[in-house]
């Protein structure tokens, strides 16, 4: 390719980079301004004197409806929700994937196909029956109920990840272990699990991102004391108080985004692999 064309190429790629980064820059700079500065300047103007007031307010005292204690409570709710939900759904996915790839039986392919379709069900069809069922078990609007919903809806995805990964482990390895007298659990714990680190990372990161970012289930299946951060953020940003405090909103949005961005920056490789695996390769 000729020199001038390569120049154009790099220019286009850089413009694209600016396009993706701009909202992040705007969020960050807005969150460090005071409201006076926001009214006086514009989207792209740098904050004059950096002020962390908006962050303090978003974390501790901003109103999310009637309550005015910021996002901190919601943040810890999300942490308490995401840890058990990710661990349980990942563990179940690993076991299911192991069975569906290395211990197939009559009907297991059908079970897999049913799980697979579960990946695509619009969750709207589950909301009403789920709300009622959680109510019967006394789990309505509770953290345990929310974790349960995330586990049920996460199984399909985690199973698919592990199953597709384990298909790549040679069957001969399993057979040889079996001839040596190793059983179902021994093969899993001693042979399969130690090889699973990459897919374990992919699944943990994928599930963490999905569940942390979920809004629908949080909105429908939780209330005050158990609402996750996405619901808190939406309440905060869309609370109809007289004046919108955009600096507080942006600080709040960044607080909600921080954990998943941190995971992305630290383990982007696995994140991207999860995306590719999520694109169903049967």
């Amino acid at each position: 390719m000729s020199k001038p064309w390569r120049g154009v190429l790099y220019a286009v790629l850089l413009i694209a980079a600016v396009y993706y980064l701009l909202p992040l820059y705007v969020m960050l700079s807005t969150s460090l301004k005071t409201m006076d500065e926001i009214r006086g300047g514009n989207l792209l103007s740098l904050p004059g004197a950096i002020s962390f007031d908006a962050w303090r307010k978003a974390w501790g005292t901003a109103c999310t409806g009637i309550e005015c204690s910021g996002l901190s409570g919601y943040f810890w709710n999300s942490v308490r929700m995401v840890i058990p939900a990710v661990l349980i759904s990942t563990a179940l996915g690993a076991l299911n994937g192991y069975v569906l790839s290395k211990w197939r039986f009559r009907g297991s392919e059908l079970a897999f196909a049913m799980l697979l379709f579960g990946l695509y069900i619009p969750f709207q069809v589950l909301l009403l029956p789920m709300a009622q069922t959680l109510g019967w078990f006394g789990l309505a609007r509770s953290m345990a109920g929310l974790v349960f919903v995330h586990v049920v809806c996460g199984i399909a995805g985690t199973t698919l990840f592990f199953r597709n990964f384990y298909v790549g482990i040679p069957d001969e390895l399993i057979k040889a272990a079996r001839l040596d007298g190793a059983g179902f659990w021994r093969i899993f714990l001693r042979i399969v699990l130690p090889m699973s680190l990459p897919i374990l990372m992919v699944t943990l990161i994928w599930q963490f991102t999905q569940i942390w970012n979920d809004f629908l289930f949080g909105l429908v299946f939780s209330s005050g004391e158990s609402q996750p951060i996405t619901v808190g953020l939406n309440n905060l940003a869309n609370t109809s108080t007289s004046v919108k405090e955009y600096n507080v909103n942006m600080a709040a949005a960044l607080i909600a985004a921080l954990p998943t961005i941190a995971v992305y920056v630290l383990a982007g490789k696995y994140f991207v692999r999860g995306l590719a695996a999520g694109a169903v390769k049967g």
């Binding site: 694209a16 980079a17 792209l44 029956p129 629908l216 909105l219 942006m250 909600a256 961005i261």
Partner: protein, 299 residues
Amino acid sequence: MSVTSRPAHYGFAEHWLPRLVLAPSFLLVLVFLYGFIAWNGALSFTASRLLPNYEWVGLAQYEALFASERWWVAVHNLFIFGVLFIGGAMVVGIVLAILLDQKIRLEGALRTIYLYPLALSFIVTGTAWGWMLNPGLGLEKLMHDWGYAGFSFDWLVNPDRSIYTIVIAGIWQSSGFVMALFLAGLRGIDDSIIKAAQIDGASLPRIYWRIILPAMRPVFFSTLMILAHIAIKSFDLVMALTGGGPGFSSDLPATFMYQMAFTRGQMGLGAASAMMMLVTVSAVVVPYLYSELRRSRHV
């Protein structure tokens, strides 16, 4: 490969253990996904309003749904949003993937930048774009400061335009995903084909258009499928960006369903709209999954 010939020591426990291990997940999915679909289907044939009420009313809820202006606004919006969001994300993603595939320095860094929005929740994206597109202090003021005094941008509060703000934010968030899938596909193409075409004197754009892009058909279809699926389920972004407003001008089926079922006490109607969403998703997904499963079986 399945275990057809069982070794002699393949005992009772080994026979039942795999079934036993799979059973809890299978039952959960059977009851809480498939059972609930049936249950929701049943609800859609009842007169349920604020509370479930199993008085059978036949297709009355569907008739009410199809007579509802708000539902058709939501369906119409889904069509606009679906076409523009899928088309936009595809074009941006494919172009970026092709450009990134030209042995670019800093490719890793650029890829990281293009993809990070995917790590954000739609609520964060919606909040951020809501601020940038807001008519008072956002984009409009920026353009005024830059000297374009007549510039006005009121899409967020304009009922005829509000759905397009969702398209803008949606493309920003999801185009990196298309880029990642296509880049992976492009890397899978054999270099020797391209070299052979170059020796034959074909220009680079021609090679992409005639040889490489046609070879990407499978990637194209799976990406299309995923984007269509995201579009049909879109809920969070609307809630954060416009709340479905002004009025219900930017409603999508998912927000319609939520409003009816959970805030307006129209449970039967909400259930019926959820069934319509399921039918739409199934029409896209079932043929795709069927062909995928068939293909993997024949490989």
